[in-house]
């Protein structure tokens, strides 16, 4: 379980994920080695899954982002696994989520422009197995991005 020091550490780190263990130690007024050990333990216990570098796909020329909401044909055994395996092989798919609700699955797909999107959609997305229904939401803007969790 998390103690007060863990919580304090995570609050500070969430507020600025670019902080290093040394920075965090200075803020918390603890020896750097102790902070590193705490971070290691958060990883070992699985509380902290990872620290990921964020890529700005827009800066690499991917101007289009589409959220695809998909319903699968659940009468086919193994439809979920087969669909997900195939979707993982499409490089432009950057995120895959499964749901309980009207939508079974959601893919985030990026493309350079609308022409590229059209090609991708026809050749790589509509050819994925066991799709019963598919619906696209075009991303316009982020109004609010992930805020810190109230830990």
């Amino acid at each position: 379980m998390l103690d007060d020091i863990d919580r304090h550490l995570l609050r500070q780190w969430q507020a600025d994920p670019d902080l290093t263990a040394t920075d965090l130690a200075a803020i918390l007024g603890l020896p750097a080695a102790r902070v590193s050990r705490r971070i290691d333990r958060l990883r070992e216990t699985g509380v902290l899954r990872g620290v990921h570098g964020v890529i700005d796909w827009g800066a690499l020329g991917y101007a289009v982002e589409v959220s695809l909401r998909i319903q699968l044909d659940k009468t086919v055994p193994g439809a979920f696994d087969r669909f997900m395996d195939a979707a993982r092989k499409v490089p432009e798919v950057t995120q895959m989520q499964t749901f309980l609700g009207r939508v079974d699955l959601r893919l985030t797909v990026i493309a350079r422009d609308m022409g590229h999107w059209q090609t991708l959609y026809r050749d790589r997305i509509l050819t994925l197995p066991h799709i019963a229904e598919i619906e696209a939401l075009m991303h316009v803007a982020n109004v609010k991005t992930d805020q810190s969790l109230p830990i």
């Binding site: 994920p17 990921h52 800066a59 959220s67 490089p91 895959m96 609700g101 009207r102 982020n142 609010k144």
Partner: protein, 152 residues
């Protein structure tokens, strides 16, 4: 545009995407570069805005947030309620961690984090349904989520 980066940059981005806490030396070893060469490339990727900071990923359940729900929201009275008013109000709800303006069947896509389903219901009834101009709402409960490397 993708000529902005070469195969070595792509390899570096793949490594950093998985683990952004590695030193320049460790990133270099992973892709077969010296520490100074890796450091220069990392700095260039950051300066070009391609590598945009870091993100912590948590096991939400272990932190006491057992439920994540995505809401699709259609505004009911377009024109009468300004998008700005809706956006200001929705962004002020602490449990709403992400708001995207989208085009299609819904106008907005919300990511909501709650302690449990009862907590989610409270947020939905008292906060989301009370937003100015909110019309059709669709909720889908997140079961699993995976990030993929993307076209690198």
């Amino acid at each position: 545009m993708t000529d902005l980066i070469d195969a070595t940059d792509r390899a570096i981005l793949r490594v950093v995407q998985t683990n952004a806490t590695l030193s320049a030396g460790a990133v270099g070893r992973a892709v077969g570069l010296s520490q100074p060469a890796a450091w220069r490339r990392l700095r260039r990727l950051r300066d070009a805005g391609i590598l945009r900071g870091r993100e912590l990923s948590f096991d939400m359940e272990k932190l006491g947030f057992g439920v994540t729900v995505f809401l699709g929201i259609k505004l009911a009275t377009k024109g009468r309620v300004s998008l700005e008013d809706f956006e200001r109000a929705v962004a002020a709800i602490p449990e709403v961690r992400r708001v995207e303006h989208v085009l299609g069947r819904y106008d907005y896509r919300l990511r909501i984090t709650a302690r449990d389903l009862a907590d989610f219901e409270r947020v939905l009834r008292r906060r989301v349904m009370a937003l100015p101009g909110v019309g059709e709402v669709e909720a889908n409960v997140l079961l699993s989520e995976e990030r993929l490397p993307g076209p690198l």
